[in-house]
């Protein structure tokens, strides 16, 4: 496991974080399995899309 995580890219770390946090938030805030699945998926995608969007917004400042 150490080797797997030691070679994780920035995107890989982001995706892992997004997945785990989305599932936890779903169990904290929703009561049925269906609601939890839907919430997990939407939160996961929102994490990815927003992070990539912010990354592109910051891109010009890195030049």
């Amino acid at each position: 496991m150490t080797r797997l995580f030691a070679n994780l890219t920035h995107f890989g770390a982001l995706a892992f974080f997004a997945l785990v946090v989305s599932i936890t938030f779903a169990f904290l805030s929703k009561r049925t399995t269906r609601d939890r699945l839907e919430y997990s998926l939407w939160a996961f995608l929102a994490f990815l899309v927003i992070a990539i969007g912010i990354g592109w917004l910051m891109y010009p400042f890195s030049q």
């Binding site: 496991m1 150490t2 797997l4 995580f5 030691a6 070679n7 994780l8 920035h10 770390a13 892992f16 974080f17 785990v20 946090v21 599932i23 936890t24 169990f27 904290l28 805030s29 929703k30 009561r31 049925t32 399995t33």
Partner: protein
């Protein structure tokens, strides 16, 4: 007809909160919320172990810098994972590389996430409305409007 209010047990609430802080998910196990206990244990544990495997830094008490002190409180939220961090992470932290820096954030996130689950365990123990596990009976979730 007057609505019946379920009164919780403050001792049980505090016990669940402390248990949940020490071992993620244990508070919900005490409260017989099996699926939540398992999910919280694996999610918080996975984040914490990933952070340590990535050789992230773990903040210690008595830090001078304000942000380091905040980091200490965030890390402390991970309970047993914080106290066992040095045993788990035998190679030590390496925040000179980006991966170590990501690891620091993941471990702090694990602590903060666990603090949220501790609050929920306390709420359930107090007879709050977060008693929504597995029933699907229409009870209100934590944070949902009444």
């Amino acid at each position: 007809m007057a609505s019946e209010t379920t009164k919780g047990n403050p001792i049980l609430a505090i016990t669940a909160a402390v248990a949940g802080w020490i071992v993620p998910g244990l508070g919900h196990l005490v409260l017989r919320k099996w699926s939540k206990a398992a999910v919280y244990f694996f999610c918080v544990g996975a984040l914490a172990l990933a952070g340590l495997a990535m050789r992230g830094g773990v903040f210690s008490a008595g830090e001078e810098d304000l942000f380091d002190r905040l980091g200490f409180f965030a890390d402390l939220g991970a309970g047993a994972f914080y106290f066992l961090a040095h045993q788990i992470q035998t190679a030590g932290a390496d925040v000179a590389h980006a991966t170590g820096d990501y690891g620091t954030r993941l471990f702090a996130a694990a602590g903060m996430l666990n603090l949220l689950t501790v609050l929920e365990a306390y709420d359930i123990g107090r007879g709050g409305d977060a008693r929504n596990d597995e029933s699907g009976t229409g009870e209100r979730s934590l944070g949902e409007p009444k």
